[in-house]
């Protein structure tokens, strides 16, 4: 593995039950990650975002994680958890530069949703708003933990299309945890599966 390069590079990462994990996500590329529940997918994303202590080397555009202040690393390598918390009263208050109404509509959210109290959002709306909140901070890499878990089929495809467009436009390196093989077939440029505490390349489309 080269020491310089662009995108997200993980080399020999040990975290929790996973060991010697190596992977590369190039800018603008979507790598899907699948595996049974409890196999350590979320722990892996947390380690890459530097939220859990871990061993191994992680680089973004050639720069090692340890050379960057932790908060700046997380701003560039942004983790979107399956259920992201909201702590202020209004949805829009969580967007530092103000929410982008067009983006809200593109994801099937009402244009006035930023003025809503957070409690008015359904779980699916909350998940899409959390996606917008993360992407609004212009990360270089996105770690998506089942970003469409609470969405119906139509909305899921809407979010997938919007994310693919955004990832391609901004050259974001995206690591996407997914369960649904159909979703992986729709969005993935590469697919990695966790088996026996290791990562193995898997086909993006099921051959059967």
């Amino acid at each position: 593995m080269s020491t310089s390069g662009s995108g997200l590079q993980v080399h020999d990462l040990d975290c929790g039950i996973l060991s010697q994990i190596s992977l590369t996500v190039r800018p603008g590329e979507i790598v899907c990650l699948s595996g049974p529940s409890g196999s350590g997918k979320s722990r892996l994303l947390r380690a890459i975002a530097d939220l859990d202590p871990h061993a191994g080397e992680i680089r973004l555009d050639g720069e090692p994680q340890t050379d960057v202040p932790a908060y700046r690393w997380r701003r560039r390598v942004m983790l979107l958890p399956a259920e992201a918390p909201w702590w202020l009263e209004r949805v829009g208050a969580h967007f530092p530069d103000g929410p982008d109404a067009a983006a809200f509509e593109a994801l099937g959210l009402p244009a006035d949703a930023p003025d809503w109290p957070v409690t008015r959002l359904s779980s699916g709306e909350r998940q899409r708003a959390a996606l917008l909140r993360a992407v609004a901070r212009e990360p270089r890499a996105l770690l998506l933990d089942e970003p469409t878990a609470n969405l119906d089929a139509t909305t899921t495809e809407q979010v997938e299309a919007w994310l693919r467009q955004r990832i391609a436009d901004r050259g974001i390196a995206a690591l996407w945890v997914a369960h649904d093989m159909a979703q992986i077939a729709r969005v993935a440029d590469a697919h990695l599966r966790i088996t026996e505490h290791r990562l193995e390349p898997a086909p993006c489309r099921s051959s059967s």
């Binding site: 975002a49 983790l79 702590w87």
Partner: protein
């Protein structure tokens, strides 16, 4: 005014009243008879010991003995701060942060008051220094214990919010900012309330004592105002320092929330 001597016989009479209360609670099966008796005996023994220590200390009014007494008081207070927390920092940090913050704020305020404001000769005269330090430590201890307890408890309950904010790239101090401010406020509220209610709801203990001992009320009031200001300053700065240090300790050098540095919650009620 002559101070009326209290005889041991009249004290023994009051002890009989406490005993009568213990018997009544026992008959009513309130289950506190044992506690009343033990606490009463502890009061007698602890206060008698402290009286003996103070008498000795007043006779040998040397700086090193006063300093030793002050050090013992701050260590006991540090242990008490630790014992009053539901989830405390492990590895001696709960004791260390509490004790150091109390030491810095209480001692600084006490020394300042003794040398600049009151000015006894010598400045460390134990009749002034020890009661002053005692009142400062007692209140600072409560403030720091409340503040740290609130900090660690809220951080644990709101761990998802703190981590969610870290994930969005906020520095640790921003991610815990609201919780930290809340904990500092919690530690200061008792002294603020005490200032607001002084003289109206309660007659402060020190003023009452001085008046009983024959001090003119006007002078006792001046002393009480001084003490309340000192207590507020000592508690306020002590709480701010302890909560600031405690919140930093909840994160590691990579600004990760490290709740594994807290002991498990104790059973409450």
């Amino acid at each position: 005014m002559q101070i009326i001597e209290l005889s041991w016989w009249s004290l023994a009479g009051t002890a009989l009243l406490v005993l009568a209360l213990a018997v009544c609670t026992h008959l009513a099966r309130l289950g506190v008879a044992r506690e009343i008796t033990i606490a009463a005996v502890r009061t007698v023994i602890q206060l008698a010991l402290v009286g003996f220590v103070l008498e000795t200390l007043f006779r040998f009014a040397a700086l090193h003995w006063v300093a030793l007494m002050g050090a013992a008081m701050v260590l006991v207070a540090g242990r008490e701060v630790m014992a009053r927390q539901n989830r405390r920092l492990t590895g001696g940090w709960a004791f260390g942060i509490g004790t150091v913050s109390m030491f810095v704020s209480s001692f600084a305020v006490a020394v300042l008051a003794l040398t600049v404001v009151i000015g006894p000769e010598p400045w460390y005269r134990p009749q002034y220094a020890i009661p002053l330090l005692g009142m400062l430590l007692g209140n600072t201890m409560t403030g720091i214990a409340l503040g740290l307890d609130r900090l660690t408890d809220t951080a644990w309950q709101q761990r998802h919010v703190i981590e969610g904010r870290l994930m969005l790239g906020e520095p640790w101090s921003a991610a815990i900012g609201g919780i930290r401010r809340d904990a500092m406020r919690t530690g200061m509220i008792p002294t603020i309330n005490a200032m607001a209610a002084a003289g109206v709801v309660s007659l402060p203990g020190m003023m009452t004592g001085q008046i009983l001992a024959g001090t003119p009320p006007a002078l006792a009031v001046k002393y009480q105002i001084l003490i309340m200001f000192l207590i507020t300053v000592g508690t306020g700065f002590g709480t701010v320092a302890a909560v600031a240090a405690g919140s930093r300790r909840l994160f590691d050098e990579r600004e990760r929330l490290r709740l594994d540095r807290l002991s498990p919650a104790r059973q409450r009620g």
